[in-house]
């Protein structure tokens, strides 16, 4: 009886994770794509020196960070994948979302200053343990760079 109850809890969590997790992911991807389209004009580069035509621009450091949590379904799928090896698709999309979101937030901050470009982009990824000892609980991604603003702005 007890085993049955545990099994029921497991499947409920799995279903909840699947439903809510998928909905959250598709909603997030939609918003990411929309905002990326809007901020397309703001170039983000990872080169260290400003482009030649922006040599007299003002510089400001801009950052954007986001913490995204996995859902239960992803954790279970990744756990199964660990047995056979291969690509962990469920985590790949998680990190992809986090990274794009972090860049977007950084771009939004730069856009507020009226910047034209962001150079020397760096990423920093860390795992937040939280209270889940197993698997990756949640990931934090930080994107930071230098925003170049026209001196007259």
């Amino acid at each position: 009886m007890e085993a049955l109850l545990q099994l029921a809890i497991f499947f409920t969590l799995l279903a909840l994770g699947y439903l809510f997790g998928r909905r959250a992911e598709s909603k997030h991807y939609k918003s990411i794509r929309e905002r990326e389209e809007q901020l397309r004009y703001l170039v983000v580069l990872n080169q260290r020196f400003p482009p030649p035509d922006m040599l007299s621009h003002r510089t400001d450091m801009v950052t954007g960070n986001v913490v995204i949590s996995v859902d239960y379904f992803k954790t279970v799928v990744a756990g199964l994948r660990n047995l056979v090896g291969g690509n962990l698709n469920s985590y790949e999309s998680l990190l992809d979302r986090a990274r794009r979101e972090a860049i977007l937030r950084m771009q939004e901050q730069a856009a507020l200053r009226g910047a034209e470009a962001v150079i020397n982009l760096k990423f920093e990824t860390s795992r937040i343990a939280g209270n889940s000892a197993k698997g990756i609980g949640s990931v934090e991604v930080l994107a930071y760079g230098t925003a170049l603003t026209h001196p007259d702005k």
């Binding site: 809510f20 997030h28 621009h57 995204i68």
Partner: protein, 108 residues
């Protein structure tokens, strides 16, 4: 105080190098937020409280770094880098480090 993560700042010239400066902070969220995060691990999605926490601690680390730079007479910190590590469950250390310099306008 000018904070930048590039080495060469447009319109500025480095007059004096003052060496490495750093600032760090270790923070944890209270247990209630940790429990909420535990629930989020089932449903997925963004952890707003943690995003905020880490942003605050990063600002704190940068503030400590610039404090250190000011104390040795710098007016800018260039080539700033961030580093994060989880040192215990629910706590993370954030480090900001860079080169303290004195810059002057080139007057172009």
């Amino acid at each position: 105080m000018l904070i930048s993560n590039i080495e060469v700042i447009p319109n500025m010239r480095v007059v004096r190098h003052l060496g490495l400066v750093q600032g760090s902070t270790v923070r944890a969220k209270h247990a209630g937020k940790d429990i909420m995060a535990g629930f989020k691990n089932i449903f997925g999605g963004e952890l707003g409280a943690y995003t905020e926490l880490l942003q605050e601690s990063r600002d704190e680390a940068v503030a400590r770094m610039s404090e250190q730079a000011r104390a040795i007479g710098a007016n800018a910190v260039i080539n700033v880098r961030f580093s994060t590590s989880a040192i215990a469950a629910g706590a993370s250390e954030i480090l900001a480090y860079g080169t303290a310099v004195e810059v002057a306008e080139t007057g172009r």
